[in-house]
Symmetry: C3
């Protein structure tokens, strides 16, 4: 086994930066721990004292109210103290370097950084340069990875489909720029699904995308054949101006998920989306709010899954 | 009894959106519960575990540091977890619709929304479209209602005057645009005061104001005759430019509460104001800081009253 | 003993506004209490219930993420509830006066204000006008005082040097504009060091600086002779434009602390800096990150020292 920055010397989770290099058992352990947090009633998650007395700092260099909120709520549920800092990348406070900021925070007896950054690799960089007592959780870095999103997607799939081994999963949309797609592909393959299929126009696919372990389709109707799980991606409006796409309505005409097109997938196919959704751009409201949609389940599961990841990463300190 | 969105099937408080439709006993229950939170010493409110493990989200679409602070402090005192979100109305995050924001938050196992919004009816709208496990508290919506302010006003009046039935209460100022005035009038009438009198220039009164159950005066000196309680309203400076008023000094000359004018009310009349006060516009500093003023008592009582309302609204979940 | 606003009638700490007027024993009590919070392992400070149920409001009229963060973390560690308010000095909310803001907050059963303000004397002003149950902690006011920084500096010095009485301490840089320098000089003299020496160009020294109880040097190499502790000050870039200094590189040439120059101090001299550091302006990276630097220890000690000060100031209420 090659050395993995994410694991401590005993092979236990210390940082959670990417799905890459994590084995199937560890992913299943996360899903199992998350499951233990979901109560009998699905409207409540009990507060547990697992991280009482721990200090978690949300370091959001890129603005994301929704993701920050789920991490705050998850930390609250674990009884940790949370402190959220929005940091403009351009001007770290008083011109201090990122590393000086990190070193100062870790000197303040902080236990964990939850990092969101527009630059790919930022969370790795911070993990590499943090003191040994710090855990780093990647809450999304550039176009690289969004591993907690991938894990909540896996949790939601398992909740409904139980077994990964027979599943054919389609990821539809802007694969090229999507950190969610990248992390989902890694997680689905690690958990041993039958097939991961990406469906996108050529301009929104990375070169040599097949090397990621996926099949490719450029046509939504064809691509949905035999599919059990559909993961729609959010279309970033700025792609239009970048000339990668003609227009929103043109995109919807070809790759928007409508009730009509959904019929080409298996009848019990589940529809997922990391949110926030662009209604009428990548997905029709009827589908987003329809009976096959599990989009809000994903949001709910995000709390339990993030609790599990934070709790496991803290084990190294005897925190759990 | 007509169906009231605010009450559950057993007639218990679920949302707190407006005083309208709430009966006298329920208002008295709120006042009694609030009273139980006020300790022996008036400088302390003990922390109680009533809402331990509950998550409250302050959804402030309109900025109000003061009201947000009182709700945060009240939630802290109830041992709840609080998360405050300032949301610019113009641009809900990443173009997401208000309803999608609400649905996402409730999917995160949140228990209560405290809503402040510039549009009348916003809190009702959110309550109508929220999941069954959510309670919504209106912290002020447009010119419609500010029911927690009304309840703290009632608490402050009862604290000093004991019995509502003999009281004559004057509300002075911009009745037309004031959500505080509307909620106070409803609460005072529900609690059975002898008289509610509004005192204002014609341009700052709603048409057919008498239908709200008030007497009308356009003259401050005449209007204060026999009055036990004076509720001054804050004058919004933007009314001047809207040509509803000539100038601040002109307004003060006619409707500003001075020591001199205060003498026309009963000698033990109490002076109230929802704050923040415009010294020298609607009220003279000598009066605001004088012995008949209970303006800071109102602020203190706001904590206990908001605790009571939040705790009662949460009962439906077996939270109390 | 002259009346000191900071002490209650029994001579116990009530506010913490400046080092001035506090006697040696009280400073030592603070250091001793802080020491009790530092655990066995230096990566953890245990959470203690000393201020459970207390509400602390951070009133930051001047932006400072770092100082605000240390106060929040310290309050968390004491189990207090914290509420941070960033207040633009120019426009206190809705035009309310500072005093009205203060009076409203204290009416909300708040126990402590932590105040940061660009105007010298702001914390004193607030302490003078606060209700008797409120404690005020000065987190930096204009060019006047930064007493919690001074105490964490003293803590760091004592941690390494044990005994103050033999120490020669140099403070290097912009003494004229530095609240840290002013508070450090007072604390060092109160604790009885052998010598405080200030090293700065004439333009960055107050007139009659000797009356503060310091020796003066205008040359870094000469000034470092026999020095045990070097406190570097942050150079504010705006001094350049104010024509007090020619340029950053010119300043570094004369007053920047380099490895080379550090040799002129005692071989075991410790290097301190209140942060954030300007690498290559007042200090070379090799020195800032070198073995004699205790800059990050200062940050760590800031949590324990602020905990101690907050806990002691709250004793007056029977809070400890």
């Amino acid at each position: 086994m090659t050395k993995n920055l994410q694991l401590n010397s005993e092979g236990k989770l210390k940082h959670f930066l990417t799905i890459e290099g994590l084995d199937r058992q560890l992913l299943i352990d996360i899903l199992d721990l998350a499951e233990s947090f979901v109560g009998m009633s699905d409207q409540r998650i009990k507060k547990v004292p697992l991280l009482r007395g721990k200090s978690i700092v949300n370091l959001f260099f890129e603005n994301s109210t929704r993701t920050r909120t789920t991490f705050e709520l998850a930390a609250n549920r674990l009884s940790a103290d949370v402190l959220s800092m929005s940091i403009a990348t351009s001007s770290t406070s008083k011109g201090e370097s990122l590393l000086d900021t990190i070193r100062n925070l870790e000197a303040m007896y902080v236990d964990m950084f939850v990092v969101r950054h527009a630059i790919s690799g930022a969370a790795h960089f911070i993990a590499q340069h943090s003191a040994p007592h710090i855990s780093v959780i990647n809450a999304g870095d550039g176009q690289h990875a969004h591993p907690t999103q991938a894990m909540l997607d896996m949790f939601t799939i398992r909740q409904i489909k139980k077994d990964f081994s027979k599943l054919r999963v389609a990821i539809v949309g802007d694969i090229l720029h999507s950190r969610v797609a990248r992390s989902d592909i890694l997680a689905l393959n690690a958990l041993g699904v039958a097939e991961v299929r990406v469906i996108a126009p050529k301009t929104l696919l990375p070169t040599k995308v097949e090397t990621l372990g996926v099949n490719v389709s450029h046509n939504l109707v064809d691509g949905l054949q035999d599919i059990d799980v559909i993961i729609m991606l959010r279309l970033q409006k700025e792609r239009m101006s970048a000339a990668l796409l003609p227009s929103e309505s043109e995109y919807f005409k070809c790759f928007g998920l409508t009730e009509q097109r959904l019929k080409y997938a298996k009848p019990d196919a589940m529809v997922m989306h990391p949110g926030p959704i662009n209604r009428g751009v990548e997905i029709e409201s009827k589908v987003a709010d329809g009976s096959q949609s599990v989009i809000l389940n994903q949001v709910s599961n995000g709390i339990a899954v993030r609790m599990a990841i934070m709790a496991m990463a803290m084990q190294k300190q005897g925190g759990v």
